[in-house]
């Protein structure tokens, strides 16, 4: 009876999202320069790189917030046109933010419920009168949210206003809200930033469990190299808007270009 460490035990499916030759410019600045990579169904895909490498821009391209000047995004075998953020959300993408973006005055429960807005289709009159379909939907959505609360072990702060929570817990509530949308792809923008060791360990476990339990595909940006190498199946390394490495954590770790980007180049 031993813990099976190989990730192959998990089902990693076909390519879910394919990014082809993406270039993104802000005026004269080129944030992303001709980058291609793909995300497979069920994997944990990390994007790493030094400060200013263009990681967050890349995530914003994936989430549809930025529209690249060049390149194509293919999702489930179809080319994705330029979309409004809510259309992307309907497609099954949910995200968390680098600097927490929750509603401070609302309870944890209500915050997570906002993640279910996509699933609420009751007509306005029904929602206003709290009768019929609106009530049924609320019950169904609450049940789903409670599962997530249980999963992330935040039962004790269910009714607490988010503004009163410590930072590490807020991050967890953000993850909960993103999960509430039942995303196909979960985008995490520096989920461990500013956390202490214990909070990081908890967050790692939750990310792995989400991936394992719900089979959610996860794309994440992270600075903490140890975390990235432990968590991810494949890693994209960016530097100055260019892709300088792509592969399993081991391949990336031994890639000389990556080493020089992180440790500096030796000028003999």
């Amino acid at each position: 009876m031993t813990h099976d460490p190989t990730p192959d035990a998990r089902h990693i499916g076909p390519v879910l999202m394919d990014l082809k030759n993406i270039t993104l410019r802000f005026g004269g600045v080129t944030a992303i320069k001709d980058i291609s990579f793909d995300i497979r169904e069920g994997e944990i895909r990390a994007i790493i790189g030094p400060n200013g490498a263009g990681k967050s821009s890349m995530l914003n391209v994936i989430s549809g917030f930025y529209v690249p000047q060049e390149g194509e995004i293919w999702f489930e075998g179809k080319r994705r046109p330029a979309m409004k953020p809510y259309e992307v959300a309907r497609l099954g993408l949910a995200r968390t933010f680098q600097n927490i973006a929750l509603f401070d005055g609302m309870s944890v429960l209500d915050n997570i419920m906002t993640g279910r807005l996509n699933k609420m289709n009751a007509p306005l009159w029904s929602q206003a009168l709290w009768w019929g379909r609106a009530e049924r939907e609320e019950v169904e959505n609450r049940a789903q949210v409670e599962k997530i609360i249980d999963f992330l072990e935040i039962q004790n702060i269910r009714k607490t206003p988010v503004g009163r929570l410590p930072y590490g817990l807020k991050k967890r509530v953000e993850l909960a809200r993103a999960l509430a949308a039942e995303p196909r792809i979960l985008l995490l923008d520096e989920p461990m930033a500013g956390m202490n060791v214990e909070e990081k360990e908890d967050m790692c476990r939750f990310i792995l469990d989400v991936n394992d339990e719900f089979g959610t595909t996860i794309a994440l940006i992270e600075h903490d190299m140890g975390v990235v190498m432990d968590l991810s199946d494949r890693v994209v390394v960016m530097d100055y808007g260019k892709k300088i490495g792509d592969g399993t954590p081991d391949e990336v770790r031994n890639n000389p270009e990556v080493i020089s980007a992180y440790l500096g180049v030796e000028h003999a």
Binding site: M1, H3, K147, R158, D209, E213
Partner: protein
Amino acid sequence: MQNQPDRSGPPSIPALLARNAATWGQRPAYREKEFGIWQSWTWAQAAEEIRALALGFLHMGLAPGDHVAIIGRNRPAHYWSMVAAQMCGAVPVPLYQDAVVEEMAYVLGHCGARFVVCGDQEQVDKVLEVGAGAPKIEQIIYTDKRGMRKYDHSAMNALADVQAEGRAAHQRHEEELDRRIAALGYDDTCVMLYTSGTTGKPKGVVLSNRNIIETARNTCAFDRLTEAEEVLAYLPMAWVGDFIFSVGQAYWAGFTVNCPESAQTMMTDLREIGPTYFFAPPRVFEGQLTSVMIRMEDAGRIKRGLFHHAMNLARRIGPDLLDGKPVGLLDRLRYALGDLLVYGPLKNTLGYSRIRVGYTAGEAIGPEIFDFYRSLGINLKQLYGQTEASVFITQQPDGQVRSDTVGVPSPGVELKIADSGEVFYRSPGTFVEYFNNAESTASTKDAEGWVATGDAGFFEEGSGHLRIIDRAKDVGRMADGRMFAPKYVENKLKFYPNILEAVVFGAGRGMCTAFINIDLTAVGNWAERNNIAYASYQELAGHPQVYAAIREHVEAVNESVAADPMLSGCQIHRFLVLHKELDPDDGEMTRTRKVRRNIIAEKYADLIAALYDGSEQVSTRTEVTYEDGRKGEIRATLRIEDARTFPTAEPQRVAAE
């Protein structure tokens, strides 16, 4: 001894379950808050669930006499596992879920469990880590599926799957299961519980069906417990009290066991359930009182004034009202008004609105704390017990409740006091033996069934109530032959909200000295209100003003100790405030939070030496263990202060001519 009850009655827990399912089939047996809603199971449903689990165990090959370890928080499924194991003729062994791997390895190896029921991935990981330490483990069953997908399942199953298999295989195994249930006798083992091990390795206390059922029957009658009671099961399942309250008494009386959503939500769940029968160690009551008082200090002037005014009235007449003593009409009316404005809402906030019987035990409880709850009309009582007695040795009857005694012998219990002062008991609940430890059994229980409690005490003249002074082995002599009872002094110190723990030294020495642990909640709040900045526990503990406050407490204790000529030698001459909290993870306390004196004396030998050599301060390094098992080190320089002592009071002369 015949293997049947003295009166006709169910001879085992599974038999009680069958009776309850027949009698109270539609009444709730278990509730658990999950997904934000209280889920409930009637006795009939619980019986079906437990039977399915037992069939599953049988299908997996559980044999009579096997041990089944259960490690997890209070959940219906874990209680069911215990009864299902009993149905198969096996012995359930609940373990402390916060035990570290080494502790768990010892118990798992000692009982030789073949099946282990784990609450979640964390517990499974620990059991796997024990590995070769408990070679007899064959099957791991887990309740919570999360994170378990990637494990090798060749010898591992989810509890729900075991039940499903049991249901599928019912036709094949039903006959065998019924045969095994019918074979369970009154003197067969009901459960095995490991003592927390204040000294040495934990011992497996074997309790029979007779022990549990007779104790439950007697004590349910004592407090008139019925099927309508509600209890909250939140204390460790490995502790004998939880087994008696949540299994023994619950099955005998047929009442409802409520399991909280998680350890952190216990207080909210308590409020939602509003138990009618409640047990808590003194520290829970202390913690609640501290938080109420802190919040009242932060409240506005009108509210605070109203609260204190109402509480003064309650302290004066509340206990009398509770005991049914005569109280004037005007006072009754004022109390009713107080109930409407203060006591009622306060009890509701604490979750004690419906409480009929409340017990506390394990440690001495401060008189103010005790009186606070009683003055609110909460029938809080004390009991005295231990694992070897199936809990109950003495308890306080309604109307005879005081903070300084532990009550009269429970029904069916005989008591005697040896010449040494040690308390001995004999009861239907007296344990069968220590598992695989005939030597310890013989040294604890004599041929006539008398068991040494290890506590020194005496019967109070007049009331016949038992008073406990201290652990018999801790009661010692000082260098000049005066009596040394550390616990007695420590308890007096701990009654101050600022002091969380105290350890007093002095056996064989010329004077007594003490280590003090501050209570971070109380002292932290005080620091905040007095604009005292601090960065860490260590800094707060060493703050001169904190020292000054603690010294006042120590001197007040000295004064009250001096009033007792027998114990006057125990006054504390010098003390220091420790730089870290005493912690079970560092082995300084047991899991039930009792101080391990000899380990502390060994670990902090340098500090004790400094207490006695007259130095003003001492530098020390202390190893600490983090929750994940890693070790670290704290360095600190501690100040040592002298405390004023008082002359021994003259023995009071009886007024006589």
